[in-house]
Symmetry: C2
Subunit: 330 residues, 2 copies
C-alpha cells in the first residue's frame, strides 16, 4: 500500500497527522507523514491526571512545539486518537476501566476545542489494526483480526476490507468475551471468565500465582516474592527450562487458543495478528495458542488461518495506528 | 426496502429467482419475485439421497415444471442456495456434518450444469440473514446477527451493511464456537462445548436428559420415554408450570445468553435476530437468554442490543433468503 521511503522533495507541502495513543499508564504522541515516518514523538503520564482537563492541557503543551517545528497547524490534517473504549461515532471515551476518568468523556470535542484541529477517535486496538493494514503485517489483507496482548487484551476486526465499528461504535472488545464461564473475576469490569483475565500480562501473573499455589512442582519462580512475579519473570523462567513456567504458558495458550478459534469461526479471517508485551514470550505462548486454536476449530477452518506477530516497533505502532485514522477521515 | 405488494402489470416482464434451502432432513425450493412473493414452492427429502447426483436429478424434476409455468428458463435470473457449510467463494458444500454427502462437493457447478442457470451458494444462515435484511426484521439495519436455532445453530453476520463471508467463505459458524470448555461432546464435529451442543433443539433434548438424571425434582417429563423427549415436550411441560422444564430452559438460556454477549462484544450489532423452532418456546427461552446476555456484557454494551424473533413464516423464510442471494449477484 505504501512504503517508508521519504520523498523529501515534496515533504514541505505534504499534510501531516498527529497520532495519540492513550494507555492506562502512559500516553504516546507523534507527528507522522503519509508514508509512516514519525517526525516527532514523545510520551507523558496518563495515570498522574485524575481529571481530564489538565491532561489535555499538558498534552497540548507537549505537542504544540512539535506542531510549530513541523511547519505550523496549517500543515496538520487532523488528530487521530486510540483510547480504551473509544467511541468512533460519538468521539467519546466511555466508562474505560483502565483510565482515571470515569463516565462518558467528550474527549474528541475537548481536543478539537484545544487544538483547533479535526479529531477522530476509536479504541486503541482498532487504531492498531488500521496501522497494521497501512504499514504492517496486514497490508493487502481484507479480513483479519488484530489482538493486542498487553496489560489488557484489545482487538480490532477488519472484514470486507473495513474496520468493524458496529452499531454503537464499540465493536471489537474481544478481551471481554467470556471464555471460562463463572471463571476468574475481573476487577475492572466485574465480570467473570473473560479472555483478558487469563491471556494478558496481568492474566499471566494471576495464572502463575494460581499454578504456584496449586502445584507442588519445584520452580525458580518460587524464589521470587509473589508481589514481584509478572509475565516477564515467567518468560525468563521458561527460557531457563523451568517446567512450571512452561505449564503456565501452556495454560495461557490453551485459553487464548480457544478464544482465537471462536473468533475465527465468527469472521473467518485470513490472519490473526498479535501485538504487545506477551508476544515477546515467543513460542512459549505462540505454540500452545496455535495448537489449541486448531484443536477447537471445525474442519473447514483448520490449517488455514495464520497467526502472525506484528513486526511494527511497539513504541511506533501505537502512534502510527492512531495517525492512520486521520488518512481515513472524510 | 421493498414490500410484498404485487405489481401485476409488469409482473410478466420481471425476472424471477429460484431459492433453495438444503437442510439435513429436507430441502425446500421455490420461485420468488423481486419483492418477495413466492410464486411456486415445494419440498423434498435430503436424507433419502446418500449421493449427490440423484439428489440434484430429483431436485430438477421437481423444479422444472414450475420454471415452465413461470414463463420458462429465460425469465429466471439465477438460483440462490442456502446449505450447511456452503462456501460463497467456491460455490461448494464442504464437510457438512448434517448432510449425507461427505468431503468437498462442487454443488454450485453441478447445479449450473443441470439447470443451465447461474448459481450462488452460501451457508443457510447467511442466506437467512440476507432474507431478513431484504424482507424481514433487519430492513434498514447495517449491523446485525442472525441466529437460527433449529436442529443445529446457524448464523449470519452483517457488519457495515454487508454480509461477512470471511477470507475463505465460511464466516458465521457461531454454532460451533466453544462456550463451555471441555463441555459436551458434539457428534458431528468431534469438538467439545460448542453452542450448538446446548442451545439447539438437539441441545435442549440433551439438557433435559441431563437434568432428569441429575435432579430428584418431580416432572411430567418423567412420564415420557427418554427417547421421545424433545424440545417441544419441554416447552409443553414448561407451559403447564413444570419447574424442571423451566430450569432446563433457564440453563439453555444461560448458555445462549453468554454466547450472544460474546457475539455482541465482537461486532456490536444493533440487533440479534433469532429464527427457528426453539424461538417458539417464547419467553421460557428468551427471558433467560436476554438476562444472561446482559449479565455478561461490559457496561458500554448494556441495554442497547435488541433480541428480536424473526417474523417471517418459517416455511417461506428459507426460500426467501436463498432467493435473495440472486438479487445480490453481480
Amino acid at each position: 500500500m505504501s512504503n517508508k521511503k521519504e520523498n523529501s522533495g515534496s515533504k514541505a507541502m505534504e499534510p501531516l497527522a498527529i497520532g495519540i495513543d492513550i494507555g492506562g499508564t502512559g500516553t504516546k504522541y507523534g507527528i507522522v507523514d503519509r508514508v509512516g515516518n514519525i517526525l516527532f514523538s514523545g510520551e507523558m503520564s496518563t495515570r498522574n491526571h485524575p481529571t481530564v482537563e489538565p491532561f489535555i492541557d499538558e498534552l497540548y503543551e507537549c505537542i504544540a512545539p512539535f506542531i510549530e517545528q513541523a511547519g505550523g497547524v496549517g500543515r496538520i490534517k487532523g488528530i487521530g486518537i486510540g483510547a480504551p473504549n473509544g467511541n468512533y461515532y460519538m468521539n467519546t471515551i466511555e466508562h474505560a476501566a483502565n483510565l482515571p476518568w470515569k463516565g462518558i468523556i467528550p474527549f474528541g470535542k475537548m481536543m478539537e476545542d484545544k487544538f483547533k484541529l479535526p479529531v477522530v477517535l476509536t479504541n486503541d486496538a482498532n487504531a492498531a489494526a488500521i496501522g497494521e493494514m497501512m504499514y504492517g503485517a496486514a497490508q493487502d489483507m481484507h479480513d483479519f483480526i488484530m489482538i493486542t496482548l498487553g496489560t489488557g487484551v484489545g482487538s480490532g476486526i477488519v472484514a470486507n476490507g473495513k474496520l468493524i465499528y458496529g452499531h454503537d461504535g464499540f465493536a471489537g472488545e474481544l478481551g471481554h468475551t467470556i471464555i471460562v464461564p463463572d471463571g476468574r473475576y475481573h476487577e475492572g469490569t466485574g465480570k467473570r471468565g473473560s479472555l483478558e483475565s487469563y491471556a494478558s500480562a496481568t492474566g499471566v501473573r494471576l495464572n502463575a500465582l494460581e499454578f504456584l499455589e496449586k502445584s507442588d512442582k519445584p520452580s525458580i519462580l518460587r524464589n521470587i516474592p509473589k508481589e514481584k512475579i509478572d509475565s516477564k519473570q515467567v518468560y525468563v523462567a521458561a527460557k531457563e527450562g523451568d517446567e512450571l513456567a512452561k505449564e503456565i504458558f501452556d495454560y495461557t495458550g490453551k485459553i487464548l487458543g480457544m478464544a482465537l478459534a471462536n473468533f475465527v469461526m465468527f469472521s473467518n479471517p485470513e490472519a490473526i495478528i498479535l501485538f504487545g508485551g506477551l508476544t515477546k514470550s515467543g513460542d512459549f505462548i505462540l505454540k500452545p495458542t496455535r495448537d489449541h486454536m486448531e484443536a477447537n476449530l471445525i474442519q473447514v477452518f483448520q490449517n488455514k488461518v495464520k497467526i502472525l506477530v506484528s513486526h511494527l516497533k511497539e513504541s511506533d505502532a501505537a502512534i502510527l495506528g492512531a495517525s492512520a485514522l486521520v488518512w481515513e477521515m472524510n
